[in-house]
Amino acid sequence: MGKYILKRMAHLIWILLAVSFLTFLLMYLAPGDAAEKKLNAQGISVSQEVLERTRQEMGLDRPFLVQYGDWLLGVLRLDLGSSYKDGFPVGEKLARGLGSTLVLALWSLLLSLAVALPLSLLAALHRDGPLDRILRFLSFVGNSLPGFLLSVLLMYLFCVRLRLLPVLADRSLKGLLLPGLSLAIPLCSRFLRQFRAELLEQLGRSYVTGAVTRGVKARYILFRNVLRNASISILTIVGLSVGSLMGGSVVIETIFRWPGLGKLAMDAIRDRDLPVIQGFVLLTAVIYVGINLLTDIAYHWVDPRVREE
């Protein structure tokens, strides 16, 4: 197992290099730069030489490779540089953003799993029954509604009409519910479909018939065998979706004024704040590869057979 993890670590380094270089290149090619954005943030147009001086101060006039090399050296010293926009250290901004995004991501993940797992189990057991059809219809609807429409509908219903939940989301349980729900609904509909397919596949396996013949209780068959075996693919599905949770919740974070990574990234991109964008991209790459590593390790732990492959 150790060798395997080392291989994955090398794999991670490679990806981080490729991703950060690609981002730097993309942002460098994109028109407009941080100095311009920073100076006319409030819509006041600025004279040329003030622009040149700020660009020079921020080191934006140095050639592309020098800027990238300088940034890379910084990363090796664990110093992600400071934001062009306000000079604050990027690490600090990301940490603040990461905290709230993780809270929101985990909460919506928990919400969707708590709903998707039992329901997909029921849908799989009552295959093609009335419950199965209703759940499939709901998952279609959930899957095709854009996040920003869903959140406005939810907010309108719960905050204005029923006055049950606050519009100003905070970390309390009540404040967290709506943003969590807006993220969880599309996620949960995707999970519902994928989990149901996995569970059906396991239920069709011969060991289920064998267990029934041996008179094993339904509870044991379901939870200790079917769910356990299906947990491998379920883990992979969840692993893949965490990636979309990290960056993809930009829309929800903007609407619910949730100071998460998504909004931070969006503002950074708008202001061409390269160090923050790079920091964000590195962070999401690390998280993405880290989660894949975790799912692979869990894969090995649950299904030893995979080790030989």
């Binding site: 003030v50 039992p118 204005v160 049950l164 100003l168």
Partner: protein
């Protein structure tokens, strides 16, 4: 199996109950409770250092920092930390006398030396105010400050009203980013960088009694969330209200008060003289109808004649009323004929104007409406959106009609906008507007100290630009503010964006 179904139902029930936990309705603030005003802001910055970037705008909105002079609702310059200011005969030396009672929130009196050090620090940390370093600023006694400018600098007074020139106690402030000590009616209670800011009454305020006990400023970028927060009673007001929200508030006058005044943010388009001849430009300006556009935008914009509000002395200019027939006549006079699909063309070449814009400040709506109005007159056009105008069509000049939006009146003086738009070395010179007479007038305006003369010069320059059909001024953004019934005094009548709560703000 029954047990599994029961388990599932229990989970769903728990979630449901969680959601519907009955909460008490947001309590009306009875008299005994502290008077806390809750507002939503569209920007929030990671620092409160008054001199850096645009942070001064927000310390001013939060009622923390104050400047020597302030701009009144009628754009006049009024005393604040400073009582009065006079200039010497040669107009090079300014003497400013401070208000005797002015003091910081930590009780220390305000001295001229502290003001001079503030201005020097501003010149160092903020590139946009680096020009202050060329002035000779010194304290002549505790209460008087002298500023000597290398050449005549007529707009110094209005510059002194800029929020970035807020005065801080440089010795008494330990952490400039998180806790600046200033002279304002409110002091900082809690500060989340780029998040919620809470302020409370400055009990040692030097000027007058402060009505409010405190205020909370939520950072909300999304218009819909602001509307819903207002309806759910969680905030008491906000500014830059969208057209959709405006109609909803207008429908319920018993709960909401809408205040709408033309502000200083200008929406305009530039006509590319290198690609369009005089007749075509005139036709376009005759076809464009700022009044109809303002109606479409649900009153969030007032139709503009020139770059400045007609209320200002330097805003007195005229332009021909929109007249589609006259536009058609002009085109046909110049040899354009209507082709089969109803568009004008000349010797086989149909006109097709490229309208460039970026999707902000309703420019996308104006682009669509402009395209319609040109089509009605028989001029075909296509729309091109850019994510960032400054480095695309403005830099390359690759446009026929370029839409842009900027603040035209920074602090009650016309020179900043005229210098930025009409000078021969300005970014917009790429559109081909050349007029030596106009350049001469601008140079004269630069040094003219007499206020009425400055207004006359500004009007002449703008009229020249309008007559040449080089620019098209569409609208001045209205500053639309919504407040809950009884709330007043959050600078809803002031055209500038950098004023908010002050001593007289009240919940009523």
């Amino acid at each position: 199996m029954k047990r599994i179904v029961a388990l599932v139902l229990a989970v769903l029930l728990a979630l449901g109950l969680l959601g519907c936990a009955k909460t008490e309705k947001p309590a009306e603030t009875p008299a005994a409770e502290p008077q806390i005003l809750k507002l939503a802001e569209s920007f929030a910055y990671p620092s409160l250092d008054v001199h850096k970037e645009y942070y001064g705008w927000y310390t001013s909105i939060y009622g923390i920092s104050e400047t020597l002079f302030r701009v009144g609702d009628d754009l006049s310059i009024q005393p604040l930390l400073a009582e009065k200011a006079e200039t010497s005969e040669d107009g090079l030396t300014w003497t400013v006398t401070l208000a005797p009672k002015a003091a910081f929130s930590n009780g220390k009196a305000l001295t001229a030396d502290m003001v001079a050090r503030n201005l020097k620090r501003l010149a160092e940390v903020n590139p946009r105010f680096a020009y202050l370093a060329d002035f000779n600023i010194s304290a002549a006694g505790d209460q008087t400050l002298t500023i000597v400018t290398p050449q005549i600098y007529p707009t110094l007074l209005s510059d002194l009203t800029a929020p970035e020139l807020g005065i801080m106690d440089l010795d008494g402030t330990a952490d400039f980013d998180n806790a600046p000590v200033c002279t304002g009616p409110f002091v900082l209670k809690s500060f989340q960088p780029e998040g919620t800011v809470e302020v409370e009454k400055n009990t040692a305020y030097w000027n007058e009694a402060v009505k409010l006990d405190g205020a909370i400023f939520y950072y909300m970028q999304d218009d819909e969330s602001k509307l819903l927060a207002m309806q759910s009673g969680e905030i008491d007001g906000y500014t830059s209200v969208t057209a959709a929200a405006k109609d909803i508030y207008a429908a319920d006058p018993s709960r909401y008060v809408l205040t709408q005044i033309p502000a200083t943010r200008l929406q305009f388009y530039v006509l590319n003289e290198t690609r369009m001849d005089d007749v075509l430009r005139r036709a376009v300006n005759l076809a464009a109808d700022p009044g109809a556009i303002a109606a479409y935008l649900g009153g969030t914009v007032s139709p503009a004649v020139g770059p400045f509000t007609s209320a200002a002395p330097y805003g007195k200019v005229t332009k021909p009323a929109p007249d589609p027939e006259a536009a058609k006549a002009a085109l046909e006079g110049a040899g354009y004929t209507l082709n089969k699909d109803g568009f004008y063309e000349r010797d086989g070449q149909p006109i097709q104007l490229n309208i460039c814009y970026y999707a902000a400040r309703s420019l996308d709506s104006i682009a669509i409406l402009l395209q319609e109005q040109l089509k009605a007159v028989g001029i075909d056009s296509i729309l091109t959106v850019q994510e960032d105008p400054d480095s695309t069509y403005i830099a390359t000049g690759d446009f026929d009609i370029a839409l842009y939006c900027m603040i035209a009146d920074k602090a009650g003086d016309p020179y900043y906008c005229i210098d930025a738009l009409f000078r021969q070395d300005s970014r917009w010179a790429i559109a081909g507007f050349r007029s030596d007479a106009c350049e001469a007038l601008i140079n004269e305006l630069q040094f003219e100290t007499n206020v009425t003369r400055r207004a006359e010069l500004a009007n002449q320059i703008v009229q020249m630009v309008i007559d040449d059909n080089a620019f098209g001024f569409v609208g001045l953004f209205n500053k639309t503010t919504v407040t809950r019934k009884g709330v007043e005094g959050i600078a809803e009548n002031c055209p500038f964006d950098f004023y908010g709560v002050d001593a007289n703000t009240g919940i009523g």
